[in-house]
């Protein structure tokens, strides 16, 4: 049994069916990269897993337990699932350390001292300890995104969902964020990553899933999916990526 399992997940916004029966799984300590053209449902899929969106049909299981539908302890579920967004979504009225300590203090009930110690250790690790009292607006995009990752890590989640976390960054800032994600992957963090960075996906992913029009079109180990895709849609998507010189 896999750590995260999606069975026939459907999600629509009005008339727009975004997810049309997604089946996929993520094993513990596995890094799964979700690729596919814009609008194929990558972000929605991640949001459904931590119940920011409700699904209409199907089922999502985390470590064997149903986490979709009614009756789920959402706040408890979200403690286990860290998510990082494309637009960082740091709290602009809080300093870096306040951003990182808010949830550990209010949700986990850590003392201010314990939460701050935890935050300082994490910030030290990503080299932003000296920025701990700055407000997000003073940081570069790459720094903000690394703080957002640390903010999620401070909750000690069992899985991390990364939603195109480098898409809003200037090209020269992408590598510092990807390096941090690579480190997490090396430490065995379970991650599901929606990304356009194919080179990165090839390096860190245990499995790559190609999502097309709300369904899993093809999946496999990166070596196989990138070099010898079996489906025509996968081939054409990868060709368009190569033409755009992103690979």
């Amino acid at each position: 049994m896999s750590f995260i399992e999606l069975h026939d997940v459907h999600k629509r916004f009005g008339d727009n069916a975004v997810l049309r029966g997604v089946n996929m799984s993520v094993d513990e300590h596995q890094v799964v990269c979700l690729i596919g053209p814009s609008g194929c449902g990558k972000s929605t899929l991640l949001r459904c897993i931590n119940a920011l969106e409700t699904i209409e049909e199907g089922e999502i299981r985390l470590d064997g337990e149903r986490v979709s539908g009614r009756g789920v302890d959402l706040n408890g579920l979200r403690q286990d699932i860290g998510i990082v967004f494309q637009a960082f979504n740091l709290f602009p009225h809080m300093s870096v350390v306040q951003n990182v300590t808010l949830a550990p203090r209010k949700v986990l009930g850590l003392s201010k001292q314990d939460a701050t110690d935890r935050a300082h250790a994490l910030l030290g690790r990503i080299g932003l300890w000296d920025k701990r009292n700055d407000y997000p607006d003073r940081l570069s995009g790459g720094q903000q995104q690394r703080v957002a990752i640390v903010r999620a890590l401070a909750m000690q989640p069992r899985v991390m969902l990364l939603d195109e976390i480098t898409s809003a960054l200037d090209p020269e800032l992408v590598s510092e964020v990807l390096a941090l994600v690579g480190e997490l992957a090396g430490e065995g963090m379970t991650m599901l990553i929606a990304t356009h960075e194919m080179g990165f996906a090839r390096d860190v992913a245990s499995k790559v899933v190609f999502l097309f029009a709300g369904q899993v079109e093809e999946e496999g180990p990166p070596a196989q999916l990138f070099s010898a895709p079996t489906r025509e849609r996968t081939r054409s998507f990868l060709r368009s990526i190569i033409e755009a010189k992103r690979m």
Binding site: R47, N50, L52, L74, N75, G76, R78, Q79, I81, G82, I83, F85, A87, N89, L90, F91, P92, H93, L102, A103, K106, V107, L108, Y135, D137, R138, R151, A152, M155
Partner: protein, 358 residues
């Protein structure tokens, strides 16, 4: 390249107007000075202010003169083919003319004020701005204004809490909250739609007539009226401020809520730590606006008979057949509202400096 214009004539015309305006202002000030002698000898302070204003008026033609000098210099530079320098000089001349415009308007207002006060044998001044009468009324006015201060401080604190409750209720999502949302919307619509004075009448006169007095029968009449007035003001301004809060809550992007909820914060914690703090920062200017309006509307409670400042000023007005105590009451409101406005501006600026880059 477009043809260069030094605008010498424009500067000359401005200077002529400035000199004329200065002359008019001085004549008006002389007339005002003479009017002070009609009643009693004018106080020294009035004369000092007149002289300061007269001297200050000279700034207007001074800027005009400099504009002429710079325009002439621009023309010379242009004739020497030094076009960049000429444009700089011409730009400086234009800036001088803008000073002439602004300061000239100020001088014109001084002239108009002096002429207005001396109109009808200085009756305007002695009936509306008799300083000696304002001065002797000061103790009575302060005593009355203390009621206004208590009214707006208590009402503002209550409004801050009550309106937030209404606004939060109003934006609760989901069908199950529909009835409670409806109540919040109906409340805000009704109390924003009714004139404040009518609510004050209905509550202040109506409740005692209807014997709705479970908690205040033992109070002194003024204290009773104070609480009835506070209740009316909170009802009315709660509606306004709830709308201000709502605008603020809605202005916080959904992604902030998503980030907070995905960290495991509950709906209430998300509001408390993420949404409301950001909303309040954004709505401070309109919130302040409503509070200044509330501070002024405390004078309406005087119609119930509370001995607040407008009531006191009205009595003094009738006793002396003179409006100056009412002018004094107006001054008390300005003493409070203007510093209050500046303080909030300062707080907003400080918060921005802290959280925003450059």
């Amino acid at each position: 390249m477009s043809r260069f214009k030094p605008h010498v004539v424009r500067a000359l015309i401005a200077e002529i107007v400035a000199v004329a305006l200065t002359a008019v202002t001085w004549l008006a000030l002389v007339r005002f000075d003479q009017s002070l002698k009609i009643g009693e000898p004018g106080p020294i302070i009035a004369r000092v202010i007149e002289i300061i204003l007269a001297v200050a008026t000279l700034v207007v033609p001074a800027f005009g003169a400099r504009a002429i000098a710079r325009s002439l210099r621009a023309r010379t530079l242009a004739s020497e083919e030094r076009l960049l320098d000429a444009r700089v000089a011409a730009e400086d001349a234009t800036n001088d003319l803008l000073y002439v415009l602004g300061l000239g308007l100020m001088a014109a207002m001084v002239a108009f004020g002096a002429l207005f006060l001396t109109a009808n044998h200085a009756l305007v001044r002695s009936v509306l701005f008799e300083w000696s009468l304002i001065w002797v009324s000061r103790t009575a006015l302060i005593r009355g204004f203390w009621w206004n201060v208590k009214l707006f401080v208590v009402a503002e604190v209550l409004v801050l809490i009550w309106a937030l409750v209404v606004a939060v209720v109003r934006q609760l999502p989901g069908r199950q909250f529909l009835p409670i949302r409806f109540l919040a919307i109906a409340y805000a619509d009704v109390f924003r739609g009714v004139p404040t004075i009518i609510v004050i009448f209905l509550v202040g006169f109506g409740f005692p007539l209807a014997h709705i007095e479970p908690f205040y029968s033992h109070m002194s009449p003024n204290t009773q009226l104070f609480w009835l007035g506070t209740l009316a003001l909170v009802l009315v301004y709660g509606g306004y401020v709830a709308e201000v809060y709502r605008a603020g809550l809605e202005s916080v992007h959904w992604s902030q809520t998503a980030a907070a909820r995905s960290l495991g914060l509950s709906q209430w914690q998300t509001l408390r730590y993420v949404v409301i703090p950001q909303a309040v920062r954004r709505i401070l200017p309109p919130l302040l606006n409503d509070f200044v309006a509330l501070q002024k509307d405390t004078a309406l409670v005087g119609f119930l008979g509370l001995a607040e400042i407008l009531n006191i000023a009205g009595i003094l007005k009738n006793n002396h057949f003179n409006l100056s105590p009412v002018t004094g009451a107006a001054m008390f409101f300005l003493f409070v509202t203007i510093p209050f406005t500046r303080l909030v501006d300062y707080l907003i600026k400080r918060d921005k400096a802290r959280t925003q880059a450059n």
